[in-house]
Symmetry: C2
Amino acid sequence: MLKLKAEKINISTGNIWTAVLNKDTAHKLDLHPGDRIELCVVNGKRGACELNVILEVSDRGFNHKIGLFAETWKKLNVKKGDTIEVKRSVKPDSLIFIREKLMGKPLTAKKIDEIIKDVVAEDLSMVEIAYFVSGAMIHGLSDTETVNLTKSIVRNGSQLHFGKGEIVLDKHCIGGVPGNRTTMIIIPICTSLGLTMPKTSSRAITSPAGTADTMEAMCEVAVPAPELMKIAKKIGGFIAWGGGVDLAAADDKMIKARHPLSLDPEGMLLASIMAKKFAAGSNHVLIDIPVGPQVKIKDKKKGRHLKKRFEQIGKMLKMKTKVILTDGEEPIGRGIGPALEARDVMDTLSGKNVSTDLREKALTMAGILLEMCKKAKKGKGYEMARVQLDSGAAYEQMIKIIEAQGKKTLRPKVGKLKRTIKAKKSGKITYINNKLISRIARVAGAPKSAGSGLWLDKKLGDKVKRGDVLYTIYSDSKERINNAAKFAKENPYHIH
Amino acid sequence: MLKLKAEKINISTGNIWTAVLNKDTAHKLDLHPGDRIELCVVNGKRGACELNVILEVSDRGFNHKIGLFAETWKKLNVKKGDTIEVKRSVKPDSLIFIREKLMGKPLTAKKIDEIIKDVVAEDLSMVEIAYFVSGAMIHGLSDTETVNLTKSIVRNGSQLHFGKGEIVLDKHCIGGVPGNRTTMIIIPICTSLGLTMPKTSSRAITSPAGTADTMEAMCEVAVPAPELMKIAKKIGGFIAWGGGVDLAAADDKMIKARHPLSLDPEGMLLASIMAKKFAAGSNHVLIDIPVGPQVKIKDKKKGRHLKKRFEQIGKMLKMKTKVILTDGEEPIGRGIGPALEARDVMDTLSGKNVSTDLREKALTMAGILLEMCKKAKKGKGYEMARVQLDSGAAYEQMIKIIEAQGKKTLRPKVGKLKRTIKAKKSGKITYINNKLISRIARVAGAPKSAGSGLWLDKKLGDKVKRGDVLYTIYSDSKERINNAAKFAKENPYHIH
């Protein structure tokens, strides 16, 4: 035990509660980097605020002081000149459970909950979480473990609460297909029928646009949960950025630990998706798994395996869950990049310049959801969805959603510079390289520069003549459009 | 690419090259925490010093600046006011290899070397090293992988070089037995015979004293490598602290990543030990594996398995390696704690107050080493060792070693306060709880307070009468000796 003056370190990395001791001080207390210490402010009347933190040891500075990173300083409510009492503290039990999983022992619900609680409470370091990821990666998570993980993530995060017995729909796509913005058509269709469909979406990580980026080209997406609940109650749904709602705080931290090696343990993937649906109050969920050599799920066997697991876990969570395997061979729709995808969606909703594949996929999925929740009779879902789309009801509903989320525009600007890429021979388009399409759009500036990206004038199976425009690149930067054009020379379209 | 003013962060955690960007700056560059960036000082004539670092992102501070931790600041030779060019950089190939091992694929020599090179160059974060530890822990390391790991650790660290063909001895104990200071008797015996035996030892981590701590009660142990080489050449050997020589830098970093979960992957344990021997130039190695319910290796089966692996790996490394399984049932010798263990060793060496078990174990081991290197004929090693001990030659040699390493004293002071613990009944001692003995010694102040610890007046098998002193606790602090006495109530001695 030692009393030390507190010194603020003006960094806030949001990783974990951390304090820094000089190596001599650490030596005195027989402490090592990574050890846990208990801090307590001991200034007369205040104080009594205790916090367990992880120790870093510095070779320099902090003589007779303890360094506190900004979030630790704030959490402990330290004032300049305060004295901190430092004690060795015990390791959390969750470390024992993480070790057990790493060694191949299945985890009980209680042990999983202890781990997730500590992940959210910032009581586990990234290194420690990485060992949990390793265990899940190598030994897998059983259905029971996955369900328990899902429940723990939900229990230890924010939640949206709808009325008991209220039907709440959701859909999800296991990414990988450029332009696949069905969400922005399905939500207006379903909510225009009076159903509830609160949708949180992600931003692009490696793609040219996520649904949240595309939506952001027209309105706000970082909307706080209470505001979203108001919107959902008033007009049935919204399309917001999940990161702004924090429905699965534990999941975000585990994703950080998975990032360096791009690890995707199946059980964590399932729990991550299902927890977000569960936390959003959903009880009817449709999951779209695109299958194809260019997307995450390469073959139908793997697709069917995932389908089975999703449906089983949905059942155990008492969520009606349906999974469809879809064609991941080529981009969906014609816009690639936030503004261009937003235009594609709005044109398809308004019926003025329809992308047939986007329309058909959205109608099919909306139809399944309508049948799942018994709004439509069996076999009548597609037709009900079609009527909502063709009557303009879905388009009007989309405008209401955009307005409720703080409308910017219904027709976002695309890049000032454009470059058309033409066919070098006549024939039929037999292959489109999705990854290269995404790369060109990103090099052009998407998603940061919302107007940048591609418009696909031709799609798979189209017949073209030499000189026909295959696709158009948009950008706001001369340097970027030149670079994108260089990438286009690799030629994402194969003509035979 | 962006140019930013450098700001020094006066912390030096020695983990890895790290820089901090404000979250807005990171967003501009599409960078995430854990991403790698390339830094370059761009001040006119200087500059051109490039460094790949790992990014941390802060919620506050560092507006239009880049924060550099002390070691990164120094490495880049930054001066106040300097401008740093920041570029996204690629992930090292070693990450791919770590992922492969995690997924169960054996690693080639080249891939292991790439990982170890990056560990030493601080190009891998603790999270990334943790994934390597996970892979080694779960899938194991084959003999070939272990040998390659050993060679890589040696190649990427400091080495001691003796003459070609020179016999260099070493011994090692897979810890866990309190008071087991055979090293300090074996080295003087062997080197008094003209043999070379450069010994690097560890400090206590969870025990009351390591050999380095015990030696430190009498002389310096943090001696730089060139100085140690001089001593070895002059008098044949030394007993120094391994941490001061840095013979296995990669190993130290891997141990840090193993620390949070106390992970001990067998292959890493073997490589860690053998690399230190190899780097010290040893070619004749004796390894002592204590076996017993209270030590690391619980049963003979596990002991024999380890023996086989050590001998196989020694063979592959062209080091003559012999492994003995010894009795780990009770402490060796009578001193527990740095000064008390030092007294025990010196008394046993001088022959004035001999601890028989310590003497016999040391003679046996020295004998094996003398036969291994053909100094003694087969079956004559023990006798040769005994003569060196009983003639006083080994004791004189130990004094020479202590003097060469900067003698403090030959008879270190023990704690001013003492407390005797007496037998509550008559009978025979049938069990001594090693862990509890260690705990009491540590609570009394060992190893930080060198004079604190225990003197074991009775050992296993001894007959005692009610009221006989079983052991004596020494400490310099009243509070500590009281606490130790409380722990002593649990009673580490069983009498039947």
